[in-house]
Structures are given as structure tokens and as C-alpha cells.
């Protein structure tokens, strides 16, 4: 992605900035100039809104043939997430076993690297999502209390 094209959407990606339509009292992500349901009347009634970053998985898939730049993840989970305020977006769910992700699971936003232009190009950052509640797994290696000092 070209430098200006990435830069233009920095706050949209970093901070989940979208729009709130004061006329229809609806939220939109990414930003909109007007609410498609209200048409022209809503121009001028849209204000910037920062989403809380919490939401729920509507549906998901485990991608085995990766998108360009995502090969390093091995099979990874892509999901359509509904933010608490209403709008939906598409994101990777990270730091999890992809096959365990199910619709209905609650997620929250984290700040991650999305990719890079090339080895010498700029780095792209943005928002991905992780599970809010990790399924509990017993880990017997956890007890390091017998460390010799």
C-alpha cells in the first residue's frame, strides 16, 4: 500500500475511529460522510466516534492458504466481528488456537503490525482482535516457585 494511502487511514486503523450519525443515532465503521439509510439529510450530522474495541464474533473461518503477508501465521483465524456499538468489520483473531474460535465468542481490540511494504518500505500497523476470555487450559510447567536464588 502506498505511503499516503496508508497514512490517510491511520486513526481509522490505530484507534478504531468511525462515525456516529446524530440524525439516525447509528454508528458506522469506517467513517462515512452520510448515513446510507438517511441519505442527504444526514450530511453534516456525522461526527467522529472512537469505538470501545469490544465486540463479538459473528462468524469465522480458519484460513489455510494465506493472504499475502500472512503466510507466517500458519493457519489463522479470520472473523467478521460485530462491535458492541453495532457496525461489523473483518479481522484476524490472534494469539489463539484458530480451530477453537467459534461464533459468539467475545473479543477485544489490540494494536498489532499488519504488514510491511517490503524489507525497506514502511511498516503498517493497525487493530486486530483477541479473545476476551481464554478457554482455560492446565499448564503443569507454570510452577517455577522452586527457583534457586
Amino acid at each position: 500500500m502506498s505511503v499516503p494511502r496508508f497514512w490517510r487511514e491511520l486513526d481509522t486503523r490505530y484507534n478504531l475511529i468511525g462515525s456516529y450519525c446524530k440524525l439516525t443515532k447509528t454508528y458506522h465503521y469506517p467513517r462515512r460522510t452520510f448515513d446510507p439509510d438517511a441519505g442527504r439529510e444526514s450530511i453534516g450530522t456525522m461526527e467522529d466516534y472512537q469505538f470501545k474495541g469490544t465486540g463479538e464474533i459473528i462468524n469465522c473461518t480458519v484460513v489455510h492458504q494465506a493472504q499475502t503477508g500472512y503466510e507466517i501465521f500458519g493457519p489463522y483465524c479470520m472473523a467478521i466481528i460485530k462491535l458492541d456499538e453495532g457496525p461489523k468489520l473483518t479481522s484476524q483473531i490472534v494469539d489463539c488456537e484458530p480451530n477453537t474460535i467459534k461464533p459468539g465468542m467475545k473479543v477485544k481490540a489490540v494494536f498489532r503490525k499488519l504488514g510491511e511494504d517490503s524489507e525497506s518500505g514502511i511498516l503498517h500497523y493497525g487493530t486486530k482482535f483477541i479473545l476476551r476470555e481464554i478457554p482455560q487450559v492446565e499448564d503443569e510447567n507454570e510452577n517455577l516457585s522452586n527457583i534457586e536464588l
Binding site: C60, T61, V63, H64, K88, T90
Partner: protein, 388 residues
Amino acid sequence: MRDVSIIGIGITKFGELWDKSLRQLGLETGLSAINDSGITSKDIDALYIGNMAAGSTLQQEHISALMADYCGLTNNHVPATRVEAASASGGLALRQAYMAIAGGFIDIAVVGGAEKMTDVSDSESSYTVSMGSDEQWESKAGATFASLHAIIAQSHINEYGTTREEMSAVSSKNHYHASMNPMAQFPFKVSSEAVSNSGIVSSPLRMLDCAPNSDGAAAVVLCASDRASNYTKKAIKIIGSGQASDTLSLHHRKYLNRMPAIGVAAQRAFKSCGKKPTDLDVIEIHDNFTISEIIALEEIGIFKRGEAGAKILEGETKIGGRIPVNTSGGLKARGHAPGATGIAQIVEIVQQLRGEAGERQVKNAKIGMAENHGGTAATAVVHILEAE
């Protein structure tokens, strides 16, 4: 408004056509269609071309001029227009030509679709295909085109209980049809079990649920119906045409398991000719993924929502069944060259309505439909044809 007929067709083999450039493919299929039609190049009022990806895979834009030049039409400065709507480019090009003739602006047009997908690596052509979805908010977020359809499939399965066997039946049936189509990329049968056991692309979609990225070209000659008989005795009329748009990104849709643009485009096509789903004898559906064929048939009204899978498994859409779908082999087995697919569908329907489909012939086919869409059905274009 005048009636419009198809008076000539041409199609190349679909596949990995290493020896053929985009220009060659366009010229070859254009000549084929013109020869079939009985016109000469002097009769051509306009050229329309469907092409999605030449800019990405060939670094070439201005395809309209490219094709007009290599097809020898620039001596007479014939107007040429390239139409792009991802994989709906072909169907949309046809609609533009149809409207121009119907509106009385021109009498005869050549409409072609051509695409080269194999000049670049698999990952590059895959990335190019994902340009039919939202590059900023879907592709850049890690979604491949297949993964979006996988989510659609997941959602359809969750709500309607569509099964693995039902999806595999779509692919298997299309391969069976392609085994009778000499122009198909994969002219051989594939069992349902093979589909169900093929490698996972994006759960639940497997390798054989997904159409290939192919090279290929197809062309038709359109003519105002009132003078079609000057050229041919085999004219087939376009009786209905409909088009619709939807959000580019899947996440902006109300339902993740529907493709409403297809339903609306089909409705508009039916309305424009007073026909209904039960009037159709044969259909070409845009099966870029097996789930797309299932949903498209539900949107068009061939089957009730949630029931297409079961009906397909029962064999209703096979040649010999109640309503044969994708007798060409569809995108999966005939091949999918994004700009050409929409025209290739029309070529198949014309062959069926003329009675020239050989082993694939549907008995007494009088009315056929071609459904072509782009992206996750962000653009849908539907045409209905009738034997004259």
C-alpha cells in the same frame, strides 16, 4: 426500445494458455464469433470488452484500445469500451452493448471477455482476485477472497444446515457436465468424495470447492433483432436483463449467508420480460465457490432459501434433472477467467437454445438464464435468453 439478438458466438479453451497473450485470445475469440455470425468487420458499430485484471497481471490498462487495435477495428475508428466489475465484467459488458442496441444507438456490437491470470504467480493472481473485495478493509486485514466465501458458507451451514455432501455435489455435478465440454479446463469427472477430501483452503471450503484462476476468452455478436435474419437463421433473443449492486465488503451486509444483489438482478430481469423462475429450462450460475451456486439458486427463486443444497444433492440440477445448472461445467470445471466468464456463460446458453450443445444438450431448451456476479456479489448481472 428495440429487441436485441445474439447472432454469433465464439469461445477459446479455458486453462493455462501459456502460448497465448491477451491480444491473441481476444482476437481469436472475436474472429470466431464474427465467423459464426455472418457479419463482416465493416458491420461492427461498437466493441465492448470485459476484463478485470489486465492492470494487475499484465500492467496494461486501456484494454479497449488494445483489443480494437489488434482486432483490426481501428482503421475505421470503431468505438471500443472496456467494462470492469471484477468477475462480472463480462456480463456487464454484454449489458452495456445490449442497452446501446436496445436504445437505438447502434445496430451491431461485438462483446468479448478475455483474461490472462496465469502470467503471474499463484499468490499474485490470488491477491488480484481479492481486489474484487474491499482491499483496504478486507484483503489488508488478512482476508483472502476464499476466506470471505468460507465465512458465507459457515453462516449458511449454521443457519440452514447445508452439508459437506451438498457442497461437494455442486462441484461433482459441474465436473460431470464439463466431461462433455471440449472447451472446459477440467473436462473430467470428479467424485463427491474427492471434493470432500481435498485440501482445506479456508474452513469449510476445500480445494475442489473453489474455481481456478484461468486464462480464457469468449465473444458474442449482438444485433438488433429486426435485422438479425440478414445474417443468421440461428438468432437467440435477449429477452431480459437486470443488474444490481451491493456493499463491497461482506461485513457491511445485513446477512452473511445471502447475496441479495443476485436476487434483485434476477427479479429485474424476470420483470423486464414477464417470466418467472419456473419458466427457465437451463441456467449458467457463477459458481466461483460451491456455496455461491447454492445461494444464487436460492436468490433467483429456483429453490427456497436453505433448500438448494438438498435439491442439488438429489440431482435436480444435473442434465436430465428438473433444472440443469452449469451444463458447461461452470466456473469450477469449465474454468474461470474473470473478464471472460460472463460471456462464456452466454455462449453456453446460446448453444443450448440453438440445440448445438452436443452431449450436454438439455432437451427442448427454450428459455435460459445466465447469472454473473463480481466480488462477494457486490455486482450482479442476469440475462434471460429465448430461442426465437
